[in-house]
Symmetry: D2
Subunit: 281 residues, 4 copies
């Protein structure tokens, strides 16, 4: 069954014709970064479906119907994070906790969704130059690195550098090197509730990064990795009690396919419990 991917893009830079960067951005992404990513993914992967949502759509394109039919949400935003509606942010985070996957790209480190799930600022140090960047793979066991060698080059990317204010990643997938003297934890996984999150650094709007086959391969791998194992219907905090059946089952395992202990083992506990290490230092 296909993985249903929704690619959310702010889609402002690509339309800001008055900016000096517009020609460059437009040359790379005439229909928007989301379309570039989506079309490349569809071309390389038969097991996904792609839908698109942007900031300026009603409800930012993230209606209940869209979210209910999204297995993995990809998020790119930069200059208008503050315009994302808090109620939509809450819905997205709720879906992630319930199982939806989330891939956060580049300047999405400052998106409301990412910061809310992380509990940190997402701050980092940066420089909008076009510098040679080498991305090192430090997780050869991880499915996000399938088909990815020990390193790959991006010939020009915005420099991000540490200190990157994220919680400790569950898995550090990539570390990037920039010629100017910078390192950055550029591929990081997290989990929140039943949901899996992948942050991936490359993707400044003035570079053709989302036409880079290696970058796209990573995103495709991440979609497969992040797909839900389950969708929890409702997040709740219930009171629980063992039932009489639970108790009977615990005391009489032989009625449930377990073994009845010999009488002497069942009733007499005589060995002393010696602590593995004692209470005093």
């Amino acid at each position: 069954m296909s993985i249903r991917v929704t690619i959310w893009n702010e889609f402002r830079h690509e339309q800001k014709t008055e900016s000096k960067w517009y020609p460059l951005i437009h040359s790379h992404y005439p229909e928007g970064m989301h379309k570039a990513i989506g079309e490349h993914l569809l071309a390389m992967d038969n097991d996904i479906d792609v839908a698109y949502a942007t900031l300026d759509m009603p409800e930012h394109g993230l209606t209940d119907e869209v979210l209910d039919n999204t297995d993995v949400l990809v998020w790119w935003g930069h200059m208008a994070h503050q315009e994302v509606d808090d109620a939509i942010v809450a819905k997205v985070c709720d879906r992630v906790l319930r199982g939806m996957g989330l891939i956060v790209l580049h300047s999405g480190h400052h998106s409301k969704v990412f910061k809310k799930l992380m509990g940190t600022t997402g701050n980092l140090c940066w420089r909008e130059d076009s510098e040679h960047c080498r991305v090192f793979n430090v997780a050869p066991y991880h499915p996000i690195t399938e088909g990815i060698g020990d390193s790959f080059v991006i010939d020009g990317e915005e420099t991000y550098t540490e200190y990157f204010d994220i919680p400790k990643p569950d898995d550090l997938i990539f570390i990037s090197w920039w010629k100017g003297g910078e390192v950055f934890r550029s591929g990081c996984t997290f989990t929140r509730g039943a949901g899996k999150i992948f942050y991936f650094q490359p993707g400044h709007e003035t570079f053709p990064t989302y036409h880079n086959p290696t970058v796209l391969k990573v995103i495709d791998n991440a979609v497969h990795w992040a797909k839900p194992v389950r969708m929890i219907e409702e997040l709740k905090c219930p009171m629980v009690r063992p039932t009489e059946e639970d108790i009977h089952r615990a005391l009489n395992p032989e009625d449930f396919g377990g073994e009845k202990l010999p009488a002497n083992e069942r009733h007499t506990w005589t060995a002393t419990r010696e602590p593995y290490f004692p209470e005093e230092k």
Copy 2:
């Protein structure tokens, strides 16, 4: 130098005289849980100072002056999480990211501060019974377990059980067992920015838990563990550039006490870089 501990307590249960539980709560904590914890800690530890803050104080007792003089904040809340002012929550979280330690006790799992830093709901399953609880130490290397043996008993504690909606703990310190059939990750560490956080489950208001020497020893250890390594002045997202001096230093290490490479090593790179593992699977 003493560690400056501020103990924040909701302090509502202990004053709710009309509740049927009041006599019991009052018998354990006539001046409030915060006073009990604070006085016990002062009696057992010469290296801490203790201040108190409660929900109903102005600014919940967490003025800038109090927070600026707090190394570790201890938090207990239960029935009035929603009354904690969002601006105060933001200030507390900012301090944690900048380095302040935080110890979250028992029903604090649902506090605004804890949920904001975790990015999850803090939900769990529970039962307000007084059940025998055994707490297992699964982190014998961790300073929070100093003087704590391989397990200890709390003779009556509210049952909390999995699934506990927290991110994966950095360190799982304790796992608790309840007679009714429950387990719970009852001691968990996290880091956010420069700050360290410890969640510790015991402490339902109707039990004398905060007079239990082992529980107090854990809290005291956690205070020492959580104290700041640094306080960052301001969380920011700066542009950075290597300076001319940086560049000169990189190209001419011999001017800074490093070694000048022999000419042939400095200028001719002839060995091929063979990838440790290649790009194709």
Copy 3:
């Protein structure tokens, strides 16, 4: 392509006719635990192939040819860990570091293979009783828990309890509860090199555990999770040098599809690098 699973079983208990436990073990596993696991997996999963190897086969059944055709190795051993040849252990560990998956079951915690990969003793506390055990799922995001609810019961299993001498698991998947007062980290993942490892506690030889559908579902999920992302040909420690082409590419990204910086941005570095946090505390 099918995942090639080799199930390695000590296969001594099932043949030790003189033991008082033989009738019970034989009733559950007339052809050995490996055959039971393998046949159940094949019945529930069309995407795997199963081969078998036992201690008493030549080279313990783990010839180069078998290992070269194994994606995931499942290991059960108990009474004869010391008889496993060190050279075979080294070959298995080498394959894991190069990418082969490994699932270690029950008393395999003391196998040479597991201890060598972990670097710890694998010690734990235990009791060979048949007690009601409830296994809690604390990793709802993890593919090993696909189709597994928030907890499940095993009506009789040997009690294992903490302190379990393993390194901190990458992911803690399951925590088990026994009626006698014990908890145990019963499902744990680790990675070593390119390989993924899953330890799963249930499976004492006198119980029908490996006919339990939930236990088998977990093992099947683990097989899919642990399959190699890559197989590294050889583990090595090479000298590396950037080539002249590497250097040219770094200095002239415009020749590789990158952007040539405007002259003023390329050559004059004027902004001071202000540290995100300074060197003094």
Copy 4:
């Protein structure tokens, strides 16, 4: 009480007068790297005692008496790892599992002790050039980074680069950048049993790295971090049984300072246990 540090150094390079590197090594470390590290630590820290052990001493200087009086062992080795006696390696690893701290420096990544505790090869990629190296601090919360800013420069160090074959560090403390295009996880913590381990990359024998105040500050911080929380007397795998007293305590908490439940709560379990999430996907 002082932390008792034993610094173990191979001490072969510093004495190999026929090597072309001898003059350089001798100029930095006339009495050996161990003496340099030890004397600097003693000068900067009043709370430690330092002892020395080298490869060519009887039992490599690591007699039972020395190890029994060692809180933290520092290890530097390079050209003679294979000469370290396996029985001594086993003793050292046993002490670490029981609580002793271990700091592994530079080429110690290939020491028998480190590889045995890690369960991996310790392989990496390398280049013996003197290159400008910048070390980034990615763990501002961690006591190993006390007094360490967001990055520091080493004006010439041997280049190590990924893929570094270690298990996933518990905490990644430092990431290093080399001018030639390399990154490396240069400060990593691990735990094994009750023991804490810190790997720290700088320290090639031809550089004056162990006279670098920042490097020494890190090592001193690591000594304090790694000191034992406990020393376990003996690693064992005991059978455990709850005693009659344990059972009585669980069923009658009121006899131990707990609360007797009202009769109706004690005996009738009527609420249904609703799963937090159900068993089917």
